[in-house]
């Protein structure tokens, strides 16, 4: 089921949210994230909560992760990394 129609971009699924939360779960709790115009620096656990609640900051975080994973899958990232 597609959820979180926060903007005109592709909606994020529950499965995608779960995937990103799982990836976040193995990172250090000391990491903090500052994005865009948000004055706050969010901790790992803050971000997990924001993803779960469907907040715009959390959804944007998920999109960044998915974009990276897609770049892996399509070979776009590897192509960049092996360029001289």
């Amino acid at each position: 089921m597609k959820i979180n129609m926060t903007d005109k971009k592709e909606p994020i699924t529950e499965k995608e949210k779960e995937l990103v939360i799982a990836r976040l779960g193995v990172t250090s709790p000391d990491l903090h994230f500052s994005d865009g115009n948000n004055k706050e620096a969010y901790s790992r656990d803050d971000i997990i909560e924001l993803i779960k609640s469907g907040d715009e900051v959390g959804i944007d975080f998920v999109r960044t992760e998915l974009e990276f994973l897609r770049a892996f899958k399509t070979g776009e990232l590897l192509e960049q990394l092996t360029k001289e």
Partner: protein, 217 residues
């Protein structure tokens, strides 16, 4: 002094405090050049009025904005708009611009080039910073996670001050992003090779270089 540099540091939250701390590197490199005069606005002084006055009176050839923004604007202290599309971007005519202003590279950057700015390096999506939320300036400069993001980003600025062409500065920055991505992706630490790499890749992908590739400060 034949070269004039203006830096604005909003310095009002964690992300802009990190940029402010890292600006020390800009000042060090500028000082070594001997022919660079630096005008710096920080914190509460980073207002539209002050930026306008300094640009009009000192005529800097290179302007560095360390703050926030959106597709149409660059902001200063407490999000006061310093430059806005279809308002006062003319102030940046004939200048080289580097902007840490999220997404401004999407609309405002191209508009600056259209009205005669020489070149623009910035980001066409949100700039994403990951860090350890350090408190002091020294800690922010040596924060190993923030360094993965800020070293590539600032290398473009330092290259410009050292007299390299805009596109060279951009390429140096892009190469640094890739170097750091390789470090992250080959790391045994799951801390680094997942989320941090994804965010660094985002900054690499959305960094833009607009206008004249040959423009030199």
């Amino acid at each position: 002094m034949s070269r004039i540099l203006l830096i604005t540091n909003a310095a009002h939250d964690t992300a802009t405090d990190y940029l402010d701390a890292w600006s020390g590197k800009i000042l060090e490199v500028a000082e070594r050049q001997k022919d660079v005069a630096v005008f710096k606005l920080s914190g509460r002084d980073t207002t539209k009025e002050n930026v306008t006055k300094l640009i009009e009176t000192e005529k800097p050839q290179l302007v560095i904005f360390n703050g926030h923004g959106d597709e149409n604007s660059i902001t200063g202290y407490e999000f006061e708009i310093l430059i806005r599309s279809d308002d006062n971007e003319m102030l940046l005519g004939k200048k080289i611009i580097h902007a840490f202003a999220c997404s401004a590279g999407k609309i405002l950057g191209p508009k600056c080039i259209a009205i005669g700015s020489l070149s623009y390096i910035g980001y066409r999506e949100k700039f994403k910073l990951t860090h350890l939320n350090k408190t002091t300036k020294d800690e922010k400069i040596t924060d190993p996670i923030a360094t993965l993001f800020l070293e590539p980003a600032f290398s473009a600025i330092l290259a410009l001050i050292e007299g390299k062409m805009t596109f060279e500065g951009y390429k140096i920055s892009q190469q640094k992003y890739l170097e750091n991505l390789r470090i992250l992706l080959t790391s045994d630490s799951t801390d680094l090779n997942t989320t941090v790499a994804a965010r660094l890749y985002h900054d690499f992908k959305y960094q833009v270089c607009l206008g004249s590739k040959e423009a030199i400060f």
